[in-house]
Amino acid sequence: MSAYPAGRPLLEVSGLCVDYSAGPGAVHAVVGADLVLHRGEVLGLAGESGSGKSTLAYAITRLLRAPGMITGGSVGYYPTPGTVVDLLAAGEGTLRVLRWSQISVVMQSAMNALNPVLSIGSQLTDVLQAHRPDLDQAARQARAADLLAMVGITADRLGSYPHELSGGMRQRVMIAMALALEPQVVIMDEPTTALDVVTQREILEELMDLRERLGFAVLFITHDLSLLVEIADSIAVMYAGRLVERAAAAALFRAPRHPYTLGLLSSFPSLHGPRRRLAGIPGSPPDLRRLPAGCVFHPRCSYATDRCRTDAPALIRLDGRADATAGGGPRAAACWLQDGSASPPPELARPAPSGPPTPPAPAPTGSAPPAPDLARSQP
């Protein structure tokens, strides 16, 4: 886990709702998502298939395909302290300027994300051409070669086509492409899921290395919670389109607060430590069109109370407590067990590890600059 302290807020998502289709057949893929991504932070978005994590990430940049549509909430992007861009209200022109230069995307399958009939050099330089008109042809070629070198690919590959590269190389090209304009945010949608474990490890290490050097923030989407525990600063867990828990990575791993998170963590066998029974989570994720009443997780929850069956819990902030830490937004969990009315069961009340002393970031206003951060250096 990285001990990289978080910087100022960069991207703030509040109450985001995303539907597929409209009318009676509409599927509420994301409901009321709240997230904050800070400068240089690695925020992991974890969940099963169909939990809405990819939908959320693509909706943020308005890249969600039809029939997806955003039906509520707000997304604010703060390129510099004091300026804010409302991504939901932005027009095509604003988006086109922002995209890739501020926020870029790395997709799961590089074979599908790279245009098969264009050379990778041309796919690297066209971004430069679109966003940096000051560069001439030679400068663009040079920069493309540099980008490839950054991910460990020789410059003679500039003329190659995607089908001529191996899977790992293609993914590296994607990463190089995503960093071409030195964005502040990189959204990564399961970038290593399609690779073998060895290549996976290599690519992740390179990625973290690049992040140290260039200082971009990462929204890392994956179903593999164990992966996030290693590379993420903070983690947000999603279930059936809702955010159910949000915490710093170490805190989530050692001291989960939501039964779903607990279940996920107990599903991974660990290579060391005493033998224990793998618990898993009974049942299967709900059909988004036929959600249970009350808390969407209650049918599979061993701690469900009567209240859970009728009332759906909102995200309850846990940062008033002694175990709260900042990162990813205030620590929160959507569970009635955490509302303070009764003590939660001991598995859900473990003491959180103490993280680097960082005061909670004040809510960004867009006019006043954020409070100065202690003991950090901006890369």
């Binding site: 940049t61 890249l63 988006l95 086109r96 300027v97 245009n115 009939v117 264009l118 971004v127 089908h163």
Partner: protein, 326 residues
């Protein structure tokens, strides 16, 4: 290149098979081919020369077996002898064809290319601007796709040539003038060519439009097009990302459709009395003169094979994935 050489091999085989087919058809039809021809020529005077030519044509005068006749046929073809045309004054078929071919290639060639380019561009436009009023044009295109080429030709002549008098209705040029390499001649040819070309373009473009539109819509759903948008690239470049991929099935479709288009174009020529291969074909049919029919069939087949080969070259050029050596 391995890929291309395989195709060339196939085309050579096809050419051989085509010659074989054309050799056997008159001979497998019920009845004696010569008498079949004579039966159709009822009403015209059959001279001894004609009879001799027919018998030489269909081999009923020799004592060669079928195999011998086949080899003899091949020998003739490879020497450029496609027989004698009885309806054109006993001149060699090759002469007849040579006179008509330039007109057909000029008209059909340019019209096909224009139609493909126009249809493809329109298809891209309709796909890109989905949900706009352009979508309502699509059913209209089905009408033009379904209407026979020659019916459209009839309409065109009736409307533009007779009633509106904008263009001449018949022929390729004003036959009273001598062909010369000057502007008057050229503009006269152009003037005569516009209506037939327009007919061919209108009749065939619909197919390209719909085909390209469908492929573009599927392609625009691909991840790399989404990435192109995510990269903040200008609209033109995003369209290029999609179209550059969508054109490939279109080219495959072109190879498959070229036979249809040529057939339709020949019929158009007939209606316009354009002195190309179509016209020769019609008079040959009416006079039961079969040598030109066979000759024209072979010539058209060769042309279609060449067009296919050209399309194959273009495809390999455009799609880097096919360039791998096996």
């Amino acid at each position: 290149m391995y890929v291309i050489s395989r195709r060339i091999g196939f085309y050579v085989l096809t050419a051989i098979a085509a010659v074989t087919v054309i050799f056997f058809i008159p001979r497998v039809m019920p009845g004696n081919p010569v008498s079949a021809v004579l039966a159709k020529m009822q009403g015209t005077v059959v001279t001894k020369q004609t009879l001799a030519a027919l018998q030489a044509e269909f081999g009923s005068d020799t004592r060669e077996g079928l195999a011998g006749q086949y080899l003899h046929y091949w020998n003739d073809i490879l020497h450029g002898n496609l027989g004698i045309s009885t309806s054109n004054g006993m001149v060699p078929v090759t002469t007849v064809i040579r006179g008509a071919l330039p007109w057909t290639i000029g008209l059909v060639g340019t019209a096909t290319v224009i139609s493909f380019v126009l249809g493809t561009l329109l298809g891209i436009l309709v796909a890109w601007r989905r949900g706009s009023w352009l979508d309502t044009l699509l059913p209209a295109t089905t009408f033009f796709q379904a209407a026979p080429y020659f019916f459209l030709a009839f309409l065109a002549i009736d409307l533009f040539a007779i009633r509106l008098g904008w263009f001449p209705a018949v022929g390729a040029r004003n036959t009273l003038d001598f062909p010369a390499f000057d502007w008057t001649y050229a503009s006269d040819v152009l003037d005569h060519a516009i209506l037939p070309a327009l007919t061919i373009v209108v009749a065939s473009a619909a197919g390209w439009i719909v085909g390209m539109r469908n492929v573009m819509i599927t392609t625009m759903d691909e991840d790399y097009v989404l990435i192109a948008q995510a990269k903040g690239l200008p609209k033109r470049r995003v369209i290029w990302y999609a179209a550059r991929n969508a054109i490939l099935p279109s080219i495959s479709g072109f190879s498959l459709a070229i036979g249809f288009i040529v057939s339709g174009a020949l019929l158009t020529e007939i209606v316009f009395s354009y002195p190309g291969l179509g016209f020769i074909m019609l008079s040959a049919v009416q006079e039961a003169d079969y040598a030109p029919l066979q000759g024209i069939f072979l010539v058209i087949t060769m042309a279609v094979l060449l067009a296919n080969l050209a399309a194959d070259f273009v495809y390999v050029f455009l799609d880097p994935r096919t360039r791998q050596e096996a």
